[in-house]
Symmetry: C2
Subunit: 155 residues, 2 copies
């Protein structure tokens, strides 16, 4: 039921990306399109990957990920950008199955780190991740430059 | 003085990676080797990139980065893994010049986000980044699975 995504899954994947954004109170921030996802996930040298939960041919969950890198370890790792399972399919272990599949890929390839961000108010997710050994990197904060500040810095 | 790294820079780059780890109180965590860096940064399809500060043929600063991805925006961005300038070469704008070069690449390629992590106690860095428009993503925390917990999850 967990398998790598196919091109034909993209409309359903985009809908799940939007559903997750609604949950994260940021629906208006989803600007991705099926065409853009296709170029990125299924182009010549993809740098972004997706696994899906397939229930009777319907995509009900997604994990979208890419490779990060640790200069200290000198190794790639997996960064999980989005993990989402449709509400009506929760409680059946699909989220965990997606996590396990990505952890399996890490172990198989010798990637020492598997990581992702969590919204601080998302207690159910934090409890779920902690119960499987995830550690919150509390000492670090992500900084981001976008928009006009990015243009100014890059000019 | 800011240029993409060359294979011959790798011994100096590794030393700077170690110097940064000492500053971050994690020297023992640096397991990378020149050989591993060469495979990763100069392999057939590199997924990690480096820019250096070259002062009279000596590498005195580094920016090591890779591509991340936003599912919401449907776009890649730059994730800055390491930024470091040797203490005796600080105050001359080299750190800013490295940031500006990566911001320039973002703008040129249409990457809407440029981001990195900062240790919460590193006030000088935080002030420096803020002064150039970086925003701390305080609502998010990175979670990480490594070691035995990763093996267990992936088995």
């Amino acid at each position: 039921m967990i398998r790598p995504a196919k091109v034909g899954d993209l409309p359903e994947i985009l809908q799940l990306i939007k559903d997750l954004a609604i949950y994260e109170k940021a629906e208006h921030e989803v600007l991705a399109t099926v065409e853009e996802l296709e170029r990125t996930l299924f182009g010549e040298v993809p740098k972004v990957f997706a696994h899906v939960v397939d229930v009777d041919g319907k995509v009900v969950g997604i994990a979208i990920w890419f490779l990060n890198y640790s200069t200290w370890l000198g190794k790639h790792g997996i960064y999980l950008e989005d993990l989402y399972v449709q509400p009506e399919f929760r409680g059946q272990g699909f989220g965990l199955a997606l996590l396990k599949e990505l952890a399996r890929i890490c172990v198989e390839r010798g990637y020492p780190r598997f990581q992702w961000w969590v919204l601080d108010w998302n207690s159910p997710a934090i409890e779920f991740y902690s119960s499987h050994g995830a550690v919150a990197m509390d000492e670090w904060t992500v900084h981001r430059i976008t928009g006009e500040a990015l243009k100014k810095l890059g000019s």
